[in-house]
Symmetry: C2
Subunit: 311 residues, 2 copies
């Protein structure tokens, strides 16, 4: 009987669920929109519907080999209390505030686990992606926000109060733009997708990060110069975390990174330059391996991997 886990990636706009096998392959997938505006109860009912659909699939045993579901893992945006199964708050899910998540699934009789979605992604990379066999690993996602998942000594490191990895909120400059967190000059306020869009707009180089990247790709020297500035900010922020954590690999994921080497090339150059010289070359910066499926695979991997997750 093949052992699988069900992984759920609960996002602000959609719920993605999958049956994931012990090699990290998705055997079946279900999705539905997140009824975010209808509040936590409606959101959890929608998640439950996805879970029930996937469980029904596991019982069908298409090729006669039934699937043994060893657990259900949930990836949730924002800070979580993984031990108590609570979403502390979530910028993209109105009404989530110390909301119990796991009780809605207790009747299934399955081992349950939950974790912040970016940490799920990091854990998925460690188990099945670009971080395999790397004991000390940092995954940074650059999209609407900037977040990170930290693997230390082969385990997910979540911090003293579950808030580790807030690399998006290191203050890169003292008089920088206002950040959603309330501070000024945070890396997220300078180099997230929306922040890049604002910088492009202020420079008259397009209305979005995408537009800026397109211009730079087409050879516009002003767009290239702004891209270089942004890469310098990102490189310095990433090197800061690596100087402190000394991981063996740095993975970049998230929507902004999808643009590829046009951005990653200059970021990598500035990152290496901002590292303490004696550690240069030790921690390569690579694109994450998991993309859209990262949350599902990572949430399932909370059960599939042999290494224990520290919660």
């Amino acid at each position: 009987m093949a052992r699988v886990a069900i992984g759920i990636d609960l996002g602000g706009t959609k719920i993605l669920g999958g049956i994931v096998d012990s090699e990290g392959r998705i055997l079946a997938e279900r999705r539905r929109p997140t009824p975010a505006q209808e509040g936590p109860e409606a959101v959890l009912m929608a998640v439950r519907a996805v879970v029930d659909e996937l469980l029904a699939v596991t019982k069908k045993a298409p090729d006669g080999d039934p699937l043994e579901v060893i657990g259900l893992g949930l990836g949730i945006p924002g800070p979580v209390d993984a031990e108590r199964g609570i979403s502390r708050f979530s910028p993209n899910l109105p009404g989530f505030s110390n909301t119990p998540i796991l009780p809605a699934f207790a009747d299934l009789g399955l081992p349950l686990a939950m974790q912040n979605d970016v940490r799920c992604h990091a854990w998925g990379e460690r188990c099945f992606g670009a971080g395999r066999s790397i004991d000390d690993l940092l995954l940074v996602t650059i999209g609407t926000g900037i977040g990170s998942g930290i693997i230390l000594g082969g385990k997910l490191y979540t911090g003293g109060s579950g808030m580790a990895g807030e690399i998006g909120h290191i203050q890169l400059v003292t008089d920088g733009p206002l950040c959603g967190c309330g501070n000024r000059g945070c890396l997220e306020a300078i180099a997230s997708g929306p922040a890049i869009g604002r910088r492009a707009q202020a420079a008259g180089l397009g209305a979005s990060a995408r537009a800026l990247f397109d211009r730079a790709h087409a050879g516009d020297p002003e767009a290239g110069a702004l891209l270089e500035e942004i890469a310098a900010d990102l490189g310095r922020g990433l090197a800061t975390a690596v100087n402190i954590l000394n991981p063996g690999r740095l993975l970049l994921g998230g929507g902004v990174v999808a643009v590829g080497e046009l951005l990653l090339g200059p970021v990598r150059r500035h990152y290496e330059a901002a590292l303490m010289p004696v550690v240069r070359g030790y921690c390569p910066l690579l694109p994450a391996h998991l993309v859209e499926e990262a949350g599902v695979v990572g949430a399932a991997a909370l059960h599939l991997a042999t290494a224990t997750v520290r919660s």
Copy 2:
């Protein structure tokens, strides 16, 4: 029979050694100058002499209760390969370059351990000092340089290649002063003892950190303003590390910190302000408890503590 460990703090100018009991108390102490200019062999012979003197003391059993020596721990400046017992290099010990340390003590038949001196200090605070019962702990020392020791999940975290905790070399500003590491704008180049002295001198406010602190203490408004600037730099650097690591306590040690609340007060204010607002108040900034004896106690604690040190 009381169980003790011998701890050695090998510094650039002196070797301190002590017999440390299971409560972290120093029962006897020996010291001698470090013959740093005579090279690694002479330095290790001097360390060995201190160890031999202390071992002789343990055999005397002053009150009839003999001491059982359970191990020898060495704290070494600069990066070490703790597992292989090697000093990789040390700015203050000329000639130390992938120098084997532990073989010089193998004939003693004692369990041996070594670690970087600041990490020893952090471990000592965790076992016997201001970090007792704190599982996630950051100790930062501000003196000639700026270093740190990181305890995560109750264990010393040393990084993928033993270089974790280089908070002194995070690039705080892009066009800052040249640092000893080769980069510009590192926290150490801006706010270590010598860097503070250079800033004082450049502002005509004295020739050393001490002189600046004295003027500020006496109420000189210009000295007070510069102190405030320095505190802002330190606060931002410390908050950066805490935003990433989410420890439960931040301890400050080292020569610069000895000035006390005159500096710690403003540093604490800027540190809290630079933290991500939702984590403010969780990780208090406190002075380290261990001072001159920190290295000796911490090195001995590599053997005395029950928690395993990840090397």
